[in-house]
């Protein structure tokens, strides 16, 4: 079972690889859109990447309310718990 910290590390890895972001900017409170400039098109690539990594069916519906990196960790945590 993955912990929240492990999930955060995984997200950091995805974000730095896909978006060439500085890992230091990826904190739990960082807002995806405003702070990290990840828009709805990027979100599609991000979720596709997470689907491949986790091997789970992730529906975009589960992520509609995600605003921050912390929200994203929480959403994935819930999914892997399920």
């Amino acid at each position: 079972m993955q912990t929240r910290d492990e999930i955060l590390e995984q997200i950091k890895a995805s974000l730095t690889e896909l978006f060439e972001l500085d890992p230091a900017r990826i904190t739990l409170t960082a807002r995806l859109n405003e702070d990290l400039e990840i828009d709805s098109i990027d979100a599609v690539d991000l979720l596709d990447g997470l689907r491949r990594q986790t091997g789970r069916k992730i529906s975009a519906e589960d992520f509609r309310s995600v605003r921050t990196v912390g929200d994203l960790v929480e959403a994935i945590y819930k999914l892997v718990q399920a």
């Binding site: 690889e17 896909l18 978006f19 709805s40 098109i41 979100a43 599609v44 690539d45 975009a60």
Partner: protein
């Protein structure tokens, strides 16, 4: 200069053409499509048949609006449209651009405004033809990619909506994203209309003072090799900038507008 009578005729004829378009959509969606369900073949064959029907109907519609002198047009390079996995992108100065491009492409798939899936005149057709709604974003990107991977050619307008008169051309990045993910070939179509018919924010009955002339020009394929192997968020940003420069250079920065809309 044409007389008052001719102007009046073009205004009336434009209204009649709208009516014809709506009726055609209804007849295809409500009568013809259910009839084709009786023919043999699975859902893929049915969809292909519907796309073929839509193409022929729109070709006829183009002939009619040309014939009744509402518009005139020329279309160059249509033989290069309709290749498997081909993403066809065009600028969008007027309401009816898509009509011409679909009329001259063999049975393409199309990304269309979500509103067309609710409009009673178009709903039947866009569903039956398996067109893709432009919203929500993730479903559009996955649907469009699946269509290209399955060998369809796909028509998209990267502006997402008609060009805003007097403002610089803007492309939404979804199209570039689909191109880097799924297109085998990327082909631009440059659309010009002079004077402008049915631009954004102008009611349909205010037809321009002269009969509008459309020019459609299929450009050379845009090489996608440089964008393969780059992470998609970066690749689609690079490609989007390139496409915008490309179209702006061909059309002028305001995208098919010459500043004079005829008013």
């Amino acid at each position: 200069m044409e007389g008052r009578q001719t102007y009046f005729w073009r205004s009336v004829a434009t209204g009649l053409c709208f009516t014809l378009f709506g009726l055609g959509g209804l007849i295809l969606g409500v009568l013809v499509f259910p009839a084709t369900l009786l023919l043999p073949g699975g859902s893929a064959r049915r969809r292909a048949r519907m796309r073929g029907l839509v193409q022929r109907a729109l070709r006829l519609f183009v002939r009619v609006i040309n014939g009744v002198r509402v518009i005139s047009y020329e279309f160059h390079g249509s033989e290069r449209l309709g290749r498997p996995g081909q993403l066809i992108i065009a600028n969008h100065p007027t309401l009816v651009d898509v009509v011409f491009i679909v009329a001259f492409t063999p049975a393409p798939c199309c990304v269309v405004k979500a509103a067309l899936f609710r409009n009673p005149f178009t709903r039947g057709v866009v569903r039956a033809a398996g067109y893709i709604s432009n919203s929500p974003t993730d479903e559009m990107i996955h649907g469009a990619s699946a269509a290209l991977h399955s060998g369809d050619s796909l028509v998209m307008f990267p502006e997402g909506t008609r060009t805003r008169p007097g403002q610089p051309l803007q492309f939404a990045r979804g199209t570039a994203s689909i191109a880097v993910h799924a297109a085998d070939v990327l082909t631009p179509v440059y659309v010009r209309c002079e004077p402008l018919l049915l631009p954004k924010f102008v009611p349909w009955y205010r037809v321009p003072p002269r009969r509008p002339h459309y020019t459609f020009e299929v450009g050379d394929d845009i090489d996608l090799a440089a964008y393969r192997g780059v992470p998609p968020p970066k690749a689609s940003r690079l490609l989007n900038d390139r496409l915008l420069q490309h179209f702006s250079a061909r059309l002028g920065a305001s995208g098919g507008y010459n500043g004079d809309s005829g008013d």
